[in-house]
Amino acid sequence: MLIRIQPEPFDLARLLDGFGAGAGAVVTFSGLVRDDTGTMVALELEHYPGMTEKAVTDIAAKAQARWNLIDLAVIHRYGRLPVGEAIMCVATAARHRAEAFEAAEYLMDYLKSRAPFWKREIGPDGPGQWVAAKDADEDALSRWG
């Protein structure tokens, strides 16, 4: 299990090198900074040092146990992330595809609403709106019982 909370960019390709040996299925998810308005230059991610590591580790351990994963990785960045860069990624390795997909979706649902990160849009003139949490993201957790 690899968990990293860091400001630096990461290399998904290097992460995947040798990842999931013995598995039949590997799923990855990458979240990228998207500019919907055409006026955003970056996202600024604030986080809660200490709690972030605990919360992410706890979420990952639950996924690992629930789906008996062969391997699992979570990398999540914070700080100022320019449009187009990766914010975070998860990778899951399991014997079969359903387990790998479900575990990756579970990780994403919980990281979205239970990992202490807060996003703010940065425009050409500086900080703009804080990104609001969506009801749909909170609701997504209910599917995991």
Partner: protein
Amino acid sequence: MKIDVLYFAWIRERIGEPRERVDTGASTVRGLVNQLIARDERYAAALSDLSSYRVAADQELVDFDHKLEHVREVAFFPPMTGG
């Protein structure tokens, strides 16, 4: 009892500080919130609407009835937007 109180995102901005040390006799999170709101309008603006934010005690999410006994750090922050 002295507790470290942390603020994040727009709660931090409204209060104007990322953290402070608070001397409190409150027995629950709700009691601490009421003590802070009574201080001045910056705290009232940040913390009056309980449905707009979350609380962690010693880095675990808790509800407003959580007991403060043995708690060393309380954090107030908006719903998370990770991922």
